[in-house]
């Protein structure tokens, strides 16, 4: 979810918009702390990179950290999509509309 939100946001992806995007698309409240924990893990795996941006007064002088998906991250997302599609395909309960 975090990777998809990052791809959607493009260059302007830092904590707050990422959280908003996830909340908007999933309909659930996302905790900033959890989003950052996920982003740190993704960065360790090389799926995203980050850079420090500008600071504003409203942020208490703290800089924003912008995140971007790497090529490896995009490949990972595609792979996950394929895996999910394969799992999804041919489920009888879903075909008959029971679930």
């Amino acid at each position: 979810m975090v990777l998809l939100a990052l791809i959607r946001l493009g260059e302007d992806a830092y904590g707050v918009p990422i959280c908003h995007e996830i909340e908007k698309r999933s309909g659930r409240e996302a905790a900033l702390g959890s989003v950052y924990a996920a982003l740190e893990r993704l960065e360790e795996k090389g799926l995203v990179t980050s850079r420090l941006g500008e600071s504003t007064a409203v942020r208490g002088g703290r800089a924003k950290r912008y995140f971007r998906v790497t090529a490896q991250g995009v490949r990972g997302v595609r792979q996950t999509q394929r895996a999910l599609t394969n799992l999804w395909r041919g489920l009888p309960e879903l075909d008959q509309g029971l679930a």
Binding site: S34, Y36, A37, L52, R59, R62, A63
Partner: protein
């Protein structure tokens, strides 16, 4: 425009347990969201998540260290239990003052012995092993630090038991277990989890940092002992601080934990990177003048509190509100 302040207690927790000192971007995001209209309850929820993540991360990083401490303490408990079952060492049957003397003597002996061991193993008498383990300071290998921590855990527990056995009459098994648990949590495990210091601040790529402070930013009001209020305007304050933004001044300012957020922010913005650029434009207060003003500001805490809450009870109520709810929207 005066920015809302988030609950101070939540901020303190974030700083101490949530590792936001190591991740200022997260702290900034939380503040930005709060100031865009989120409630204090939202801030508290987010804080708890960040704190939970912070503790979990610290625990994961320190796992071998904590495991060694715990294993050594369990081994110590087995030895202690064996001693307890043999009623050894025997309690001293002497006066209370003599017992106090023994207690004091044992404290000194143990302290001296521990210091000697520490000095021999890691080269310092009172090391902060958590910091050393995190490779923040010192150059002893991690295996040595883990071994020393385990040894300290073992010896501390055993020495504490022996001291209690000498001083107090024989105590029950539940009493022994309760005391062991208390020692473990208070003296061994809790200090072991103590957060290592923050990493060096990251540099921000920003050529004109003070421009990030909006024109509507509140001015810094300072109440002098004479009752006169001095108002430092945004730009002159920023320039003043930037001119004098050397380490001494920053120490002076950060020494006053109650200094206004604006001042902290301005000083933060005036990092070393932009110093030369700002110096060209600067003409304002001297370092000594600015330090004196900061001193006064810290004493009066804030103009809002000084001006609106002269009543002590009201002031206390407001302070409690700031701790738990922050400023109202």
């Amino acid at each position: 425009m005066i920015f809302r302040r988030p609950p101070a207690l939540a901020n303190w927790l974030l700083d101490r347990l949530g590792c936001t000192r190591r991740n200022p971007a997260l702290a900034g995001d939380l503040l930005e969201e709060f100031r865009s209209g989120r409630s204090a309850a939202w801030y508290w929820r987010q804080t708890l998540v960040v704190v939970a993540n912070g503790i979990s991360n610290s625990g994961a990083g320190l796992r071998p260290y904590l495991l060694a401490l715990s294993a050594a303490y369990v081994a110590q408990f087995v030895v202690t239990l064996a001693l307890w079952s043999r009623n050894s060492p025997h309690a001293l049957h002497v006066s209370g003052w003599t017992k106090f003397g023994v207690w004091l003597l044992m404290q000194f002996v143990y302290w001296g012995y521990e210091s000697l061991v520490n000095q021999l193993v890691v080269g310092t008498r009172s090391p902060n092993l958590t910091q050393m383990y995190c490779a923040v300071e010192g150059d002893a290998p991690r295996s040595t630090i883990v071994a020393l921590a385990a040894y300290q855990s073992f010896s501390l527990g055993l020495a504490s038991y022996c001291l209690c056995a000498l001083i107090f009459p024989r105590f029950s098994l539940p009493g022994l277990v309760a005391a062991e648990m208390t020692w473990f949590v208070l003296w061994v495990f809790a200090p072991a989890l103590k957060r290592p210091p923050a990493l060096p601040a990251e540099t921000v790529e920003d050529e004109q940092p003070w421009l990030a402070i909006p024109q509507s930013e509140p001015v810094l009001a300072v109440i002098l002992p004479s009752g006169r209020t001095i108002t430092l305007e945004r730009q002159s304050l920023a320039r003043s601080v930037f001119v004098a933004a050397d380490e001494d001044l920053i120490k002076v300012v950060f020494g006053h934990r109650r200094s206004l957020e604006l001042l902290r922010r301005v000083i933060w913005l005036g990092g070393r990177r932009s110093l030369s650029y700002i110096q060209e434009r600067a003409e304002s207060l001297s370092l000594a003048e600015l330090a004196a003003l900061i001193e006064e500001t810290a004493r009066t805490k804030s103009i809002i509190e000084a001006g609106y809450y002269p009543n002590r009870r009201e002031s206390f109520r407001q302070r409690l509100k700031l701790w738990f709810c922050g400023d109202s929207a």
